[in-house]
Structure formats: structure tokens, C-alpha cells
Symmetry: C2
Subunit: 136 residues, 2 copies
DNA sequence: CTCGGTGCAAAGGGTTTGCATACAT
DNA sequence: ATGTATGCAAACCCTTTGCACCGAG
């Protein structure tokens, strides 16, 4: 069978701004809506659908990464490197963790005969700031 | 302030069947829809909303656990013990892993001053069965 | 008798998609 | 000229919620 050629990417103003916005977001991990709001300040006619489409293809191209936390909205991360996250149960803050990898879990899966290609690790708890105010 | 009393749980046929269905599901990790379909065979008038409500309170009561994978539907797990999961990128099969815990990630978070109360680890790859057919 | 649970249906949040048009190549 | 990307709006999936009735305690 002929190899399916995937569509050639065009560099549009919209895609550039979406990428730049995520890249500039630091540790904030904005949702699609947040990216939309920010991009719209510079390009008032952009649509939410376009933001979603661009976030999706930027992630597929390995320019950014997507973080899914529980059931909520997806969050976008400027770093494409696999790494872990810490989520504060109190304020929702998402911190990046240096790739911890969970070698133990990976090994267990490999012993079961599975091939582990990647992983997502999310730790939950209370962040430093939320810990300070009260309670021991 | 007066301590808020939470509602007394009543044992209904619906809740019993939802619990029994999840408990009987083994390693399958059914979605709410799947539980609904199965329970409806025994109780044709049950509604999907009731299934969701019961899954939610059973999880809150620590009788079962919920697994969120990427953006899709939540999956329900008969085991309330914290443990990890392996998800096959090919067939979607979800395997339970003996709690691997990811001590490295946890330590990194704690070094940053966060208090880790729990975590979710999902490994992705191809399961043993999907690995067999072709490709090296 | 109480008040938590149910069925139903409608609404909700997040994301995707069909279509005609715009524009990068 | 070609066909990808866009804007718009409708559709989609999963889940929650309002309401009147039912039934466990």
C-alpha cells in the first residue's frame, strides 16, 4: 500500500501565536481557553476551534505537550520533554518535576510482557504555598 | 460552626448492583456506560444518571476507584487500593500494576516543599498481546 | 413521616467537526 | 492553482443537575 502522505504544515499567524503563547507560559500550564483568551488579544478574529486545532497539531509535531489531569480540561505545557507534574489539591497549581520516570512501575509492566513507550505521572497533594497558612 | 452532617447512605438495589458490577469486573476497568449496560440487564428501569451518582459516591466512600486516562471517559476499578496502571496504546487494554509508587518523583516533589498525599501513574505502550502479531 | 435515592430530561463543560472561505505555498 | 488553515456554528461525548416522585429508615 502507498504510504499515506500527511498534509504539509503551513506557517500561519494563528499557529505562530498559539505556539508563542504556550512557549511563554512558563509553569502556568494554560488550558485551551486560556491560550485562546491571550491569543485573541493580538488577533481578535481567531476562533476557539482554530486554537484547539493548532494545539493539537503542535503537540503531534512534538513542539509542546498536553497534560490531562483527572476529568478536567487539558492543560498545555511548553516543554515537549517527558517530565512529571505535581498538582496541588488546594490551589490547583501545576508544578513541573524533573522527569522522575517511575522506573519501578515501568519495570513491573515490562515483566508482564508489555512494551512501555511513555508514561504520565501525576502526584497530588498540597503545594508549599498552600501548606504555609495554617494546619500542622 | 456546626459540623456539617453528611447525608446517611441508604442501601438501594441500584447502588448494590452498581457496586457488584464493578467488583465483578476484574481487570476490565469498565466505563460508566459499560456499567450502565450491565446493570440495566437486571434492572431495566435504572437510569444513566443514577449509575453516575452511585459510581461517584462509591468512589467517595472508598469502595471503588476511578481511573482517568487522557481525555476519555473515566474508568472504574474494583480495587480501592492505590495502584498503578498500564494502558496499551494499541488495544486500550488497562492492566493493573502492583503499586509502584514512583518514589523518585515523590521525593522530588517533597524537596520542592510540597506535601504529596497521593498520585496517579499511567504507563503507555503496547501490551503483550498487541506486541505479538507483527513488527519487531 | 423523613429525607435520601430514583428516573427522566435538560443543561453543562470541553472538544471536535462540516462547511464555505481565505490565504500560504 | 493547489489544498491547508481559518471562522463560524453545530454537533459531539461525557458528566452533572433540577425536579417530582418513590421508597428505605
Amino acid at each position: 500500500m502507498a504510504t499515506e502522505r500527511e498534509p504539509v504544515r503551513r506557517t500561519t499567524q494563528q499557529r505562530g501565536l498559539v505556539l508563542a503563547t504556550v512557549k511563554a507560559s512558563g509553569v502556568e500550564h494554560p488550558s485551551a481557553e486560556a491560550v485562546f483568551a491571550r491569543v485573541r488579544d493580538m488577533l481578535p478574529r481567531i476562533s476557539l476551534g482554530t486554537v484547539y486545532r493548532n494545539l493539537q497539531c503542535l503537540a503531534a509535531d512534538g513542539c509542546i505537550s498536553v497534560v490531562h489531569l483527572d476529568g478536567g480540561a487539558a492543560r498545555y505545557d511548553p516543554s515537549a520533554e517527558p517530565h512529571d507534574h505535581f498538582v496541588c489539591r488546594t490551589c490547583g497549581m501545576i508544578d513541573d518535576l524533573p522527569a522522575a520516570g517511575s522506573p519501578a512501575g515501568r519495570r513491573a509492566a515490562e515483566l508482564a510482557g508489555h512494551e512501555v513507550t511513555d508514561h504520565a505521572v501525576v502526584l497530588y497533594g498540597r503545594c508549599r504555598r498552600c501548606r504555609a497558612p495554617s494546619e500542622p
